[in-house]
C-alpha cells in the first residue's frame, strides 16, 4: 500500500515536471517511479496515510494560507530588524515543548517554526523538546515560549499528521 502511494506521488511529480503525455515519457516515468518506490520506501515518511485521507488533506489546505500569513508577517519583522539603524535584536536559545509524536509532524512543526516570526529550530530531543533560536526573546520560561512559538502551528499539524 505504502509503495503504491509513493509510486503514484512520484509519478505525478514526474508528469508535472516533464509536462508531456508522450508515450515514451510516460513509460520512462512509470519505470522511474516504480524503482524509486521499491528502493526508497523505507527512507520515506511513515505517515503515508496522510495522502489518501480527505480530512487531513482538507486541514492541510487550510494550513497553507494560515502558514503563509505568519510567514509574510515574520519576513516583515526580520526586514524591520535588519534595516532599523539600532538593530533591535535580543537573541537567545529557548526551550519549547511539543506534544506531537509522529516524525513527519515534528518535522513539519520544526520547519514551520524556522520559517516564521524570528525563530529558528536548532535541535530537538527524544523527549519532545525543541531548542529554538529566537531573535527577540520575550519569555525565557518553557511554558510561555511554547505558547508564543509553537501552539498556533501545533493545533493544525496535529490534525494533519496525527
Amino acid at each position: 500500500m505504502r509503495r503504491v502511494i509513493y509510486m503514484v506521488a512520484a509519478f505525478v511529480v514526474w508528469l508535472l515536471l516533464t509536462w508531456s503525455l508522450d508515450i515514451q515519457v510516460v513509460i520512462a516515468g512509470v519505470a522511474a517511479s516504480v524503482v524509486v518506490a521499491l528502493l526508497f520506501h523505507e527512507m520515506l515518511p511513515k505517515e503515508h496515510h496522510v495522502f489518501i485521507s480527505p480530512v487531513r488533506i482538507f486541514w492541510f489546505l487550510v494550513y497553507i494560507p494560515v502558514f503563509f500569513y505568519y510567514m509574510v508577517k515574520a519576513n516583515l519583522d526580520v526586514v524591520y530588524r535588519a534595516l532599523h539603524p539600532d538593530m533591535p535584536i535580543r537573541p537567545g536559545i529557548v526551550k519549547v515543548k511539543t506534544n506531537l509524536k509522529t516524525e513527519s509532524g515534528i518535522t513539519a512543526l520544526a520547519n514551520s517554526i524556522t520559517l516564521t516570526p524570528g525563530t529558528l529550530t536548532v535541535d530537538l530531543t527524544e523527549d519532545g523538546f525543541l531548542y529554538v533560536h529566537w531573535i527577540y526573546v520575550k519569555h525565557e520560561d518553557v511554558e510561555q515560549a511554547t505558547q508564543d512559538i509553537a501552539a498556533k502551528f501545533e493545533w493544525y499539524i496535529k490534525r494533519i499528521f496525527e
Binding site: 526580520v78 538593530m87 536559545i93 520547519n111 524556522t114 520559517l115 536548532v122 531548542y131
Partner: protein, 118 residues
C-alpha cells in the same frame, strides 16, 4: 496577469535584498541564518510565483511551483542543519544574547581533539 506577475517578481527581489542586508548586518551565525532563511525563502518563492504568472505556459508554471514547494521543504531543514552544526562545532552566541537553554544538553565534545590526546 503579466503585470501581477511582474509585481510579485519585484516584491521577491526586494525581500531577497533585505535578506542580504540582514546577512551582512546581524552579529552572529544564528541571527544571520534567521535573515537568510526567512527573507530569501519567501523572496524566492514570490519570484518563482511571479515567473509562473508571467510565463502563463503550463510547463514552466508547473516547474516553478514544484521548485517553490521543494524550496519550502529544504530551506528550513538546511538552516536547522547549519545551526546545529555551528553550535556543536563550538560557535558561540553573540555576547549580548539573553539566554541559552541549549547549552544544558548540547554535546560539544570535539572527537578529533580527543583522538589526538590519546
Amino acid at each position: 496577469m503579466t503585470e501581477t506577475g511582474y509585481f510579485f517578481i519585484v516584491l521577491g527581489i526586494l525581500f531577497d535584498i533585505c535578506g542580504c542586508i540582514g546577512l551582512v548586518r546581524f552579529p552572529d551565525v544564528y541571527n544571520r541564518l534567521q535573515a537568510s532563511t526567512k527573507c530569501v525563502t519567501l523572496g524566492t518563492i514570490f519570484l518563482l510565483f511571479g515567473v509562473a504568472m508571467v510565463s502563463a505556459s503550463g510547463a514552466i508554471s508547473a516547474k516553478a511551483i514544484i521548485c517553490a514547494a521543494f524550496l519550502l521543504l529544504t530551506s528550513p531543514t538546511a538552516a536547522h542543519a547549519i545551526a546545529k552544526g555551528a553550535y556543536v562545532s563550538g560557535v558561540k552566541l553573540w555576547e549580548n544574547s539573553v539566554v541559552d537553554k541549549y547549552s544544558e544538553v548540547a554535546d560539544t565534545t570535539d572527537d578529533s581533539k580527543t583522538d589526538k590526546g590519546e
